[in-house]
Structures are given as structure tokens and as C-alpha cells.
């Protein structure tokens, strides 16, 4: 049976170590925020609307889930700071938030790492 997992948390909290040790036979998408940036960049060529970008990325996430049996998304918990001065940065953390919510909705399990300690918040 295929399972979808989201591992989140702040920077350097032990997300990768936890995911690699706990989900050995899963496909792991590490640093998924980098993938989000890649999707944003490839989409920006056509259109600039943030809602459209979000929709496009959610569609990409659906594809990843459909092609892979069981997978773990490792996504940094963004947005817990001051709203950045830079427009692109502001847009990125909002897109990261919305797409993170989408993965969390699709996920069977969501685990958040705090100083190396896993906190299971879904599933």
C-alpha cells in the first residue's frame, strides 16, 4: 500500500536524518522547497499570477504522488518570521505555505521535527 508522508520543521532540526531512518523504502524528496523554487521559475516564464503558480505546483505534486508508490516530502517550515522586504521572497514563502498545506492534506502522516525530536501531528 502506498503512503505519503510530509516531514517538516525549521532549518537544521534533523528532518533529513529522521526521514532517511524512518522511511527506508520510500522515495524521498529532500529540500522540497528547492523543488518549489524550480517550479516557480519554470512557470514564471508564462504567467505571473500567484494563484496560477500555486495551482501549477499542486498539479506537479499530484504527478509526483501518482508516479511514486510511497514517498516522503521533506519541506522546511517557512513563514515563521518577519514578512520579507523583497517581493519575490514574500511570494515564495506564501507559495511554500499554500503548497505545504496541500501536501499535508494529501499526506497520510505529517511529522514535525523540533530540535531533533519528532512530533507526529497527523496520522
Amino acid at each position: 500500500m502506498s503512503r505519503i508522508v510530509l516531514v517538516t520543521g525549521g532549518s537544521f532540526q534533523g528532518k533529513t536524518k529522521y526521514a532517511r531512518e524512518s522511511y527506508t523504502d520510500f522515495v524521498v524528496f529532500d529540500d522540497f522547497e528547492m523543488m518549489l523554487q524550480k517550479y516557480i521559475d519554470e512557470y514564471r516564464a508564462d504567467c505571473d499570477s500567484q494563484d496560477d503558480v500555486e495551482q501549477y505546483i499542486c498539479h506537479k505534486i499530484d504527478e509526483l504522488i501518482a508516479y511514486n508508490k510511497s514517498c516522503v516530502f521533506i519541506l522546511k517550515e517557512c513563514g515563521c518570521g518577519i514578512v520579507p522586504m523583497d517581493k519575490e521572497e514574500r511570494a515564495f514563502r506564501e507559495i511554500c505555505g499554500r503548497c505545504g498545506c496541500y501536501i499535508a492534506k494529501r499526506a497520510d502522516e505529517v511529522v514535525r521535527l523540533i530540535m531533533g525530536i519528532p512530533q507526529r501531528i497527523k496520522g
Partner: protein, 209 residues
């Protein structure tokens, strides 16, 4: 009763808060109003987009929207009503940066005055200025907390949306650091008086209290 929702940007805290207050309204306060207290001052295209997004999110939810960017306890409400405050960090920013623009004028005047004085006097005035700024921020924080206490006495239930702004880079200017410090103080006081506190992580509610 106070329920507080905290989370980062784009974490889904608004949606969570709206669902929570709607359930509360239906179950215990169906005779009263369901008030959406909007505190954000809308600037530019992004502000408009943000408001439009929130409007769409609460479309058909029968909220009565009241725009009040400061002194939120001035709104007319009763013990039958439930109020959603969206959000605390905008409320604090409005109070702080409005006061800041007034403060900037005062600073210019004090600089003009100080050029006529001896250097020793100048240093003393700087110390006094720092002390005055500290007490201004204390007054601001306690003022906002008082607004919440007073509004809570008027209404049936209060759901407060606030931001987690304390968990990233520390390379900020003094004014931003002061803002972060003020928000932290307000959040701590609000959490203290809340009956329930939820942290929202990518749309999932984690109960903190």
C-alpha cells in the same frame, strides 16, 4: 472565552480560525452575530490581493465584517456575539508605526534643540530618549492587551489570529527587533489569558494549551 490561533505566513491559520469560530457560533452563539474584525491597513496591489483572498475564503460564511485598525474594543458588540480578530500582528504594527511616525517628528525636534546644547547635555538627552522609547513600547504592548481584555468582556467569545514572527534570521534593524519583541510580549500575554491555543503547521492544528 478566548481561543488563539498562531502560525506562520500561509500556514492556513485564517481558514482554521474561520471554521473554528463558525462551529462555535452555530453551537453556542447562534442568536448573536459572527463578526470578522479586520485590522489590516490595505496598501498597494499585494494588500488588495490579500484582502480579496480573505474575502473569497469567507464567502458565504455569513460573517459581518468590521474594519477597525486600532482601538478594537470600540466596536459595538454584545455577549451573544462571537468575534474573529484577524490579526494581532497588524494591530500591533498599526499602533507601533503610527506612533513611530509621531516619534520621528519629536526626534527631529530634539536633535534641533540639542545642537544648541553642550555635548554632556546631548548624551543625557540620548539616554532619556532611549528610556522614553522603552516606556513607549511598554505602554503600546499593555495598551493592546487592555484592548483585548476589554473587548473580551463585551462579547461571548473571541478568536484571535496571531503570527509567529520569532523564528528566523536575527539580522534585523533596531525598529524591526523592537516590533518582534512587542509581538512576543503581546502573544505571551494573549496565550496566558486564552482558554485554548492552537499552533497551525501547514493547515494542521497542534494544540498548545
Amino acid at each position: 472565552m478566548i481561543i488563539t490561533i498562531v502560525g506562520g505566513s500561509g500556514s492556513g491559520k485564517s481558514e482554521y480560525a474561520q471554521n473554528l469560530i463558525s462551529a462555535l457560533h452555530e453551537s453556542e452563539y447562534s442568536d448573536g452575530r459572527k463578526i470578522y474584525l479586520a485590522t489590516m491597513k490595505c496598501y498597494g496591489e499585494e494588500g488588495t490581493r490579500r484582502v480579496a483572498r480573505h474575502l473569497k475564503l469567507r464567502e458565504n460564511m455569513n460573517f459581518e465584517t468590521i474594519e477597525q485598525t486600532d482601538f478594537i474594543d470600540d466596536i459595538v458588540a454584545s455577549k451573544n456575539d462571537v468575534v474573529l480578530i484577524e490579526d494581532m500582528s497588524n494591530l500591533a504594527a498599526n499602533a507601533m508605526f503610527d506612533r513611530e511616525s509621531q516619534g520621528a517628528t519629536a526626534t527631529k525636534e530634539s536633535i534641533a534643540d540639542s545642537t544648541n546644547n553642550e555635548k554632556a547635555d546631548n548624551e543625557q538627552s540620548n539616554n532619556e530618549k532611549a528610556a522614553a522609547e522603552e516606556s513607549t513600547n511598554e505602554v503600546l504592548v499593555s495598551g493592546i492587551i487592555e484592548q483585548i481584555v476589554s473587548l473580551n468582556k463585551k462579547v461571548g467569545a473571541l478568536v484571535i489570529v496571531t503570527n509567529d514572527v520569532n523564528r528566523d534570521s536575527c539580522g534585523y534593524d533596531e525598529l524591526t527587533r523592537q516590533y518582534i519583541k512587542n509581538i512576543a510580549a503581546i502573544n505571551a500575554a494573549v496565550f496566558e489569558m486564552s482558554d485554548k491555543v492552537y499552533e497551525i503547521v501547514y493547515s494542521i492544528g497542534v494544540r498548545l494549551k
